[in-house]
Amino acid sequence: MLFHSFTFLALLVPTLAIYWLSRSQTIRLAALFVASMIFYAFHHWPSAFLLLGTIGLNYSAARLQQRWRSRWLLALIVLIDLSLLFWFKYAAFAAAELKRAASLFGLALPLPTLSNWLPLGISFFTFQVIAYQVDVYRGTAGAERSLLVFAVFKSFFAQLIAGPIVRAKEFLPQLHKRARFDPQQLHHGLFLFVAGLALKIGVADVLRQFADEAFRSPAELATTDAWLNLYAFAFQLFADFWGYSTMARGLGKLFGLELPLNFNLPYLSSSLQEFWRRWHITLSSWFRDYVYIPLGGNRSKHTRNLLVTMTAAGIWHGAGWTFVLWGLLHGLWLAIESALKRRFASRLTTASPLRATAAAALSGLLLFHGVCLLWVLFRAPSLPVASSYYARLLLPPYRVHTDVPETLAIWLVGFALLQAPLARAMERERFLPRSAWAQAAITWLLLALTLGYAGQRYDFIYFAF
């Protein structure tokens, strides 16, 4: 069930009605939980049992943790959660790679061929619950007493499948408090939902056709096409995930719940460190708080910590060498950037404002292209396809194809220029004070974009992770 479908609307409207018409918080939460399970089971009903199982297991483990405060118990529950993630997401890949490695030595490993059943959103809800277990162990969050509240925390349909990854201390208190109907929140939530819809259907799905085509047979691309289609993928990925996260935040507001911001104009960053503070913010901060800092952060073995953290982030995105390499290279880049910053920090602080602005603009441009180059690994289905794409981007023969499709050119330029105004227009403080006419005009611009390209339904990219 996709957010941009009438099927979802048919689930959302009655859930909203029950939620706001009920005075009992228990009924409200029950409505949210039932809706979430229907939403999840709609994709693949056996996965719903897995979700229910992990809810029960993690609820019980946290309750015990509250009492015992045991490192072993934490290790055990994290191991179980990660094992499930590993089994469903990585076991088939690991088995295939083991078989391949063994065959190099003339051995035939009797490993079974594993199914490709990947429960939707498993990477997201596993990380959310690991954070919860660690927080309970650390004492920064209390173990939730109510199974129903915990079940909603783990399965709320707005963020179940692709985040944002919410933290217990931010979200659980919201579930305990019986929200008062706030017209402003509903008002803003409706607008965010429309804005996310436009980003998904009107931007991401339009750019998708160019990126998909380019990665299907990169060897035939002219140099200019390879770059333009790579930009198309970079913007597609951003618009797709930004759109999803925005819809999720909008949905949360419809129920009086605040979900965290997940994107803050990442392509306008001037360093990779800044990029990761603005891109998929809830995942980046998860890796910072639960991997990077526990490893020692920047206090000791900084480079190793960055490499391990970013490689883990790469693996989190998918089972494949392309993702491993993608994460590793991001780690390496962050390490180099950090070393350069330390080396030239004094010069940067003493530069004139003009030179500093020029340097920021240049580094922003370089950063965008560097990130784009690494997106090749993220998008390519295999290393040979990625290397073929890199060859067309960087190596001769350099061919220029001047017949750039108008839609591609307009969407690339338009999105590059309008991303910042759109993000600003979405802010509650800017949107709500406008006149009803201005609000409706912005809403209809977005709706027109959505309507124009409506018809096809594509999954959100991050559903695959």
């Binding site: 009438f6 099927t7 402003q184 008002h187 839609t407 009803a436 809403t443 309507l451 124009g452």
Partner: protein, 341 residues
């Protein structure tokens, strides 16, 4: 925004709904125009409709769009003794045989039309449902698909939603404001701009001759094993024009090299022979006429310059056919007056 939050929310919803109603009304009122702006073939047809009457109309795919430039054809025909004539190229990229049939049938009875030149090519023989036709709902369609189809049926705003695509909006502007400026060969935004500004890029009568003569129909019509349905569509087209007293001629556009000249293959030759045998109308086969490479945009499309040159070959072929020449009111059939070796 002033007022209570509840009032503001209500006002916002009312204005959004009000705009939806206004747009629904507009889509119902201008449904035909919006539909025309939403599909390139219907757009071309709408441009032609606004340019009627026309003496000559070219039908085909993007290959004809590039190859037959009305101004160049008319200029060459005038040199061959034709009275002042008008011509329009109603071809569209990715046109299928079904689109060709729909568009050609629509204009076959247009008053004043004297000659229709219709493309026969590998690309033109492609089949497919009309893109502007209503899609039928699959038996296993889910709730979303059913709801969407229901909305499409009951709301003009949803049915004509393609009007909100950027291309459609620009087409809407072009067809509403500048239809009289175009001859149908425009494809990209820059082409439309050039035409709006009146800066024709066609080569005039001083075009250098090119060595490009059509081959005669040379296959026995009985050898038609493929393209039976396609043949019937072409025959129906020819009948439709002839019933309205319009002359029709078919042609095969040139390709860069023999690798891309699919039309030299036996099934294509048999198709042409079969059409010729039934209709008796001329079929000019330029499939083996390989013009210099610099006159091509790609393997199957001529450039604007190449099209200007090639158009003169078509004009010569028209002038060389006494029946067509007479239909166009030419003083005398001068034969290969220009450009042919």
């Amino acid at each position: 925004m002033r007022g209570t939050p509840a009032r503001n929310l209500a006002l916002y919803l009312v204005v959004v709904a009000g705009i939806a109603l206004l747009l629904e009304g507009a889509c119902r009122h201008w449904q035909k125009l919006f539909l025309a702006a939403s599909h390139r073939s219907l757009f071309k047809a709408a441009l032609l409709e606004r340019r009627l009457p026309q003496d000559i109309v070219f039908f085909g795919t993007s290959r004809t769009g590039e190859a037959l430039r009305p101004r160049a054809v008319l200029s060459a025909l005038a040199d061959a003794g034709a009275p002042p004539l008008s011509a329009f190229n109603v071809s569209t990229p990715f046109s299928s045989l079904d689109i060709l049939q729909a568009v050609a049938t629509r204009f076959s009875g247009s008053p004043g039309l004297k000659l229709a030149v219709v493309e026969i090519s590998h690309q033109q023989l492609g089949r497919g449902a009309l893109p502007w036709g209503a899609e039928s709902l699959a038996a296993d369609a889910d709730f979303h698909a059913r709801a969407f189809t229901w909305l499409e049926k009951h709301s003009a705003l949803v049915a004509e939603r393609k009007i909100f695509v950027l291309n459609s909006l620009s087409r809407l502007m072009l067809v509403s404001l500048f239809a009289g400026r175009f001859d149908g060969t425009e494809e990209f935004g820059s082409d439309y701009l050039v035409s709006i500004l009146g800066l024709s890029r066609d080569i005039g009568s001083n075009a250098e001759p090119i060595n490009c003569a059509p081959r005669p129909v040379d296959a026995p019509p009985a050898s038609l094993n493929e393209f039976g349905e396609e043949r019937d569509i072409y025959l129906a087209l020819a009948r439709s024009f002839q019933e309205h007293g319009v002359e029709v001629a078919f042609y095969v556009p040139p390709a860069l090299d023999s690798e891309h000249a699919w039309e030299t293959g036996t099934p294509y030759r048999a198709l042409r022979a079969s059409i010729h045998a039934v209709t008796g109308r001329p079929i000019w086969d330029f499939s083996e006429c390989h013009l210099p490479p610099h006159l091509y945009r790609d393997a199957t499309h001529l450039s604007a310059t190449g099209g200007s040159y090639f158009s003169r070959s078509i004009a010569s072929a028209i002038a060389a056919d006494p029946r067509l020449a007479q239909a166009l009111g030419m003083r005398q059939a001068t034969g290969a007056a220009h450009a042919l070796p």
